[in-house]
């Protein structure tokens, strides 16, 4: 049973990690928690589902479709709910937090009107492919999820540290005004960030659908809450923190059920956060942020 639970935990953890990467990227650059991220990847999941189950397109095309839609949504989110706040004096981070909450309420209810309430099956023949590893069956989807999450993490880390765009992004994250003075088009960088993060949400959405066989307009909320928990204890803005945090949470939830009480499964994320934050207020991988403890 241990091996199976380990696989369950890693799969769940990888999904959490992908969700958390989206949050952490936006936070790293903008210092904003994008509360609409969960709803954006929920839309990604629906687009993927419609393309696969209703239109019958091959899976990679479904991924691309989800990425296109969520990327576009990220663009609109940035234009409609974030950018107008950047230029306004007196707009605290709280204001953008609330405007993204507004967007998330809007999207959740819009999804209900557009896609209908309740669960929708997410079926692809691909999701049925499995192979035995020792005594247990491993589904290809589980491997794929782990691989994609690792790839996204490595890709992001590389992009941030090696490429021009990535460096400009980091400069933007470091100090918005200075980066602007140095000739970085910060508005564009921010748009790019939000679009990339949202597109990653699209990927996450399709993977979640495949992993759990169903989707509904509430998955953004429950997954989003976990994603938030992860970036906090992984360390805000840290790519590795999101990955490590995701895996830790996935494994702890699974093992709490396996060896403890399943009644506390959903609460374990927050028990961990509180524990970690009390020891390391900046999170596992976070740099001591200004204002945290003195």
């Amino acid at each position: 049973m241990f091996l199976e639970q380990l696989i369950n935990g890693v799969t769940l953890g990888s999904i959490y990690a992908i969700v958390a990467l989206g949050y952490t990227l936006v936070f790293g650059v903008l210092d904003i928690i994008n509360m609409a991220h969960g709803e954006i990847f929920m839309f990604g999941a629906f687009v993927g589902m419609l393309l696969v189950s209703k239109a019958g397109v091959p899976l990679p095309v479904a991924f691309l479709g989800a990425i296109a839609v969520t990327g576009a949504m990220g663009f609109l989110l940035e234009r409609a709910a974030l950018r107008p706040l950047r230029s306004r004096p007196g707009a605290s981070n709280l204001a953008s937090l609330i405007s993204t909450i507004g967007v998330s309420i809007l999207l959740e209810n819009a999804a209900h009107r557009i896609f209908g309430a309740g669960n929708h099956p997410f079926e692809t023949p691909f999701a049925e492919i499995r192979f035995p590893v020792g005594p247990v069956n491993v589904y290809l989807v589980q491997v794929l999820i782990l691989l994609i999450s690792l790839l996204l993490m490595a890709g992001l880390a590389l992009w941030l540290s090696r490429t021009r765009g990535g460096k400009a992004l980091r400069a933007t994250a470091e100090d918005l005004t200075t980066a602007g003075l140095l000739g970085v088009d910060t508005d564009r960088m921010i748009t790019v960030t939000v679009v990339i993060a949202s597109a990653m949400g699209g990927v996450a959405g399709v993977l979640i659908g495949m992993a759990f066989n169903y989707i509904n307009n509430q998955i953004g909320l429950s997954m989003g809450l976990k994603g938030l928990a992860i970036i906090i204890f992984g360390g805000m803005g840290s790519v590795y923190g999101a990955m490590a945090g995701g895996l830790i949470l996935g494994l702890s939830e699974t093992f709490v059920v396996a060896y403890g009480s399943s009644g506390y499964r959903d609460a374990i994320a927050f028990v961990i956060i509180i524990g970690v934050l009390l020891v390391r207020p900046q999170g596992l991988f976070g740099q001591a942020a200004p204002g945290t403890g003195h």
């Binding site: 049973m1 929708h120 079926e123 059920v257 399943s262």
Partner: protein, 376 residues
């Protein structure tokens, strides 16, 4: 002689029919009893899937009743968003602003626990169509329900399953943060203990959880003869599909919340082996049921689930009681409702007991080959 007699018989029956019809025609058209009935349902937010089925069923019944002309019902549907405060505000609006004669709903037992006392205190009959938790009708004499409580459904399904499969050891799985699934679980546990079944493990899950693999892996490792699962169909379908995928082939026994075409739609083959006890059987060989299913499918593009069927029957029960009461009066309607006996609806024969709770024989159904069938 014989021929004459026959002719006479034909003639006289024709005459009789003529007289009868003639008498029917000139009967003065009675003004229908006009009444306003309120509905509280989940239209937005989590659980809107149930609310949608319920309001669909009610609308269909309303159209039928109004077309018949004996009573004319003006429906006021209010959203509760699945929240108690919203349900209470909606109830107050219906009771005091809309002056409804009765309320159907709300959807969740939680909501009923807040709304019920208020309706009862205001003397407005209220009827739950999906509130299956314990202690609902005990709120007061104006509170009714036609939803078969899990305390009646589950013993029937477990009883049949134990007999058929000779179950000895079982695993229990339930949602611990919801009144409905928690009550169902309490009954399952009680019934299992009474039947001296060995409970290998009790696993919990929480609303909105996407992944049940950890719990299911644990259950699988203990090799139960069956899994008793107290879940609503939204979660239940996902649990089934994930369970089968990881190799749990044993029967699943659920309560009546598990009974929905949605289960099959979402879980597909994985739904095979699900046993539920429920008054609602979509493929029952009964003209009433067939007509209802056909109409519902035509109107909403899908088959009715038990939430729709219970709401549909509930509306007819209220309409009948209204006819019996003879006027849109809350107290007379309450008394007429309480007197409902052997109402013949799509769920079968229905009566209220002394505590305004359900008297009904549940069917035990099993999913086989992607269809609900009677379990024998």
């Amino acid at each position: 002689m014989k021929v004459r007699l026959q002719a006479l018989a034909v003639l006289s029956s024709a005459l009789f029919a003529l007289v009868f019809l003639g008498a029917e025609k000139p009967r003065p058209r009675v003004e229908p009893i006009k009444a306003r009935i309120g509905v509280i349902s989940i239209i937005t937010g989590q659980g809107a899937g149930y609310g949608e089925a319920i309001t669909n069923g009610i609308r269909l019944a309303r159209d039928e009743v109004n077309a018949r002309g004996e009573v004319y019902i003006d429906l006021k549907i209010e959203d509760s968003s699945g929240k108690q405060e919203q349900a209470l505000s909606a109830a107050q609006k219906l009771i005091h602003s809309e002056q409804v004669v009765a309320i159907i709903g709300p959807t969740l037992s939680n909501e009923m626990k807040v709304v019920g006392p208020e309706a009862n205190a205001s003397g407005v009959p209220i009827m739950g169509t999906s509130t299956t938790a314990k202690g609902i009708t005990q709120i007061g004499k104006y509170v009714f329900r036609n939803a078969l409580p899990e305390s009646q459904a589950i013993p029937a399904s477990i009883g049949m399953a134990v007999k058929k499969y000779n179950l000895r050891q079982v695993a229990l799985l339930y949602g611990n943060d919801d009144v409905f699934t928690k009550s169902g679980f309490d009954t399952m546990k009680e019934v299992s203990e009474n039947r001296k079944l060995r409970i290998l493990t009790v696993q919990e899950f929480q609303k909105g959880q996407a992944d049940y693999k950890a719990q299911l892996t644990k259950i699988a490792s203990l090799r139960p003869d069956a899994v008793f699962c107290s879940a609503l169909y939204e979660e239940g379908a996902v649990i089934l599909s994930q369970a089968r995928k990881m190799g749990i082939k044993v029967p699943f026994v659920g309560g009546n919340g598990f009974n929905s075409p949605k289960v099959i739609e979402i879980a597909r083959d994985a739904a095979d082996g699900l046993i539920v006890a429920t008054p609602w059987f979509v493929d029952r060989n009964d003209p009433k049921v067939k007509a209802f299913v056909a109409k519902y499918e035509k109107a909403y593009g899908k088959k009715p689930d038990q939430f729709a069927a219970q709401a549909y029957d509930a509306f007819h029960i209220v309409a009948n009681a209204l006819k019996a009461a003879g006027a849109a009066d809350r107290d007379r309607l309450r008394d007429a409702l309480a007197a409902t006996k052997d109402f013949d609806g799509v769920l079968g024969k229905f009566s209220f007991d002394a505590e305004r709770d359900v008297v009904m024989e549940p069917n035990v159904l099993i999913v086989q080959g992607g269809k609900f069938r009677v379990f024998q």
